[in-house]
């Protein structure tokens, strides 16, 4: 085990190859996601408090449990009518962390599904708003109801999301980007970063988010861009076949 700050090029490459071998033959995107986060966490748990992998999934393609959550959540805030089959939902597919309850996506109460139901709704969640923007996903497509935009353009991009200091960084509206400040304080979270990329011709966009207890320079994060390429290389077939969740 090592820290992200100490990770040299050879170690990073070895880790990439290790997780890629683990992903090989995964029956679904969800299974691959869990294998990825587990492998990377095992290697970098000195740095990482919580590691999660999300993917955008059409509402219609969600398991019943997730659909019910989306609908209930949206109804609670008065946007239930805005949910359609094509609504993209940022769905938690893989999770691992310092607490046992963080190691099962089904146990996540608040972040299992984040419907990208409207620009205002997404803008109201500073972390997700910044994550999407920094990964190159502008929010205008939500108002245009153009979910195909993901497949049209995002496949070309792989961006980096970076918050150097989770406790102090704020957005343009002076809101803490990492809203869960009790979590940040309790676990000493310092840097939060993410990488993301889309699958061409599909609405699926994958984002890996890592909450770290040590400060990490942005330069180091760049090394994680290739994680997305390797993850996509091993999962493009299951995405193409529509195998997002493990039955």
């Amino acid at each position: 085990m090592t820290t992200i700050a100490q990770l040299n090029k050879a170690d990073a490459l070895q880790l990439e190859r290790r997780f890629q071998r683990m992903l090989h033959g995964a029956p679904s995107l969800e299974a691959a996601a869990q294998r990825y986060v587990t492998t990377v966490y095992d290697a970098l748990s000195e740095s990482i408090v919580l590691l999660r992998l999300f993917a955008t999934v059409r509402y219609a393609d969600l398991p019943d449990e997730n659909r019910a959550r989306v609908l209930a959540g949206c109804k609670a805030i008065g946007v239930g009518d805005a949910v359609a089959d094509d609504t993209l939902v940022l769905s938690l597919l893989g999770t691992v962390g310092a607490e046992p309850q963080w190691c099962d996506r089904h146990a996540s109460a608040n972040h299992a599904v984040i419907p990208l139901v409207s620009r205002d709704f997404v803008s109201g969640i500073p972390m997700i708003s910044r994550l999407l923007k920094q990964l190159g996903v502008e929010l205008d497509w939500i108002a245009r109801k153009d979910t195909a935009i993901v497949g049209k353009t995002f496949g070309f991009q792989s961006g980096v999301f970076y918050v150097a200091d989770a406790a102090s960084w704020v957005d343009s509206e002076n809101r803490k980007i990492i809203g869960a400040q009790d979590f940040v304080a309790k676990y000493g979270v310092r840097t939060v970063f993410g990488v993301g990329g889309g699958y061409v011709g599909s609405p699926v966009y994958t984002a890996i988010i890592s909450f770290c207890r040590d400060p990490i320079e942005e330069e180091k994060i760049e090394r994680f861009r290739s994680h997305i390429d390797r993850f996509k290389a091993e999962t493009s077939d299951v995405v193409k076949m529509g195998r997002i969740f493990t039955a």
Binding site: R17, K152, V200, G201, D229, R230, A233
Partner: protein, 241 residues
């Protein structure tokens, strides 16, 4: 050091590298467990090479697909813009044609609005109806002077019975027309000034002292025909009947 299954493992390595060179990643199949011997390290390296190459190949394929999609979107946008441009050009042509029609109609209207009536030998009448602006005044001037220059006339009657409204500039135009006619040797009469128009002219302080005015076209005709029978036919300047 003995290496187990050397021949078989070397053959598998060779096949793997051959598929790799051809980009046939699916044909490589599942990775096998590597043995803890020198060949095993080579096998592991080859497996890594397969992973790395496949990742790069798929990433490049995705980028190419994205670029193709963007190219298609761009082509569609260009097509849409060209169609819009064509529509705009058609609209421009249509507007130009309409403008030309309007210009022709305006010219015809102008021509019709300045008729010259030869009512007697050496007497012409120019009935003015409606508004007299600079453009129409110029047309009246051109038509009238052209007519006088071609066949000199002794009397020109400008009948304004059809003029319902007047302003200082209209009066000024009419005075100029009369002056020009007089310069060409014709005597000019202004007939048919309505009471309302006369009131406006007085209110505006317009001086019509240089022009002879008659109440009606009938009187103007009688006056001009009567004057022609006398030795001196020029009317007194500014005589209101």
């Amino acid at each position: 050091m003995d290496i187990e299954n050397l021949e078989e493992r070397l053959r598998r390595l060779g096949n793997t590298l051959a598929h790799l060179l051809e980009g046939e990643f699916d044909a490589i199949g599942e990775f096998w467990a590597v043995a803890d011997d020198p060949l095993g390290r080579i096998e592991e390296t080859v497996q890594f090479l397969v992973l790395d190459t496949r990742t790069i190949a798929i990433a490049n394929r995705d980028k190419e697909a994205s670029l193709l999609m963007q190219q298609e979107q761009l082509a569609a946008k260009i097509e849409m813009l060209e169609a819009q441009q064509q529509r705009i050009q058609e609209q421009e042509r249509d507007l130009r044609a309409r403008a030309q029609t309007i210009e022709r109609q305006a010219a015809a209207i102008l021509e019709l609005s300045t008729p010259i009536l030869e009512v007697w030998d050496d007497v012409i009448v120019l009935p003015v109806i409606g508004l007299v602006d600079a453009r129409r005044s110029a047309a009246i001037m051109e038509t009238l002077l052209g007519n006088i220059a071609r066949t000199p006339k002794k009397w020109v009657i400008i009948d304004v019975t059809g003029v319902e409204d007047v302003d200082a500039s209209t009066a000024d135009y009419l005075i100029k027309v009369c002056r020009a006619a007089q310069l060409l040797g014709a005597s000019c009469l202004l007939s048919g000034i309505r009471p309302a128009v006369a009131t406006i002219l007085v209110g505006l302080g317009v001086e019509l002292t240089e022009i002879s005015t008659m109440r009606s076209l009938k009187e103007a005709l009688e006056h001009s025909l009567g004057q022609m029978q006398r030795p001196s036919s020029r009317p007194r300047p500014w005589s209101v009947q």
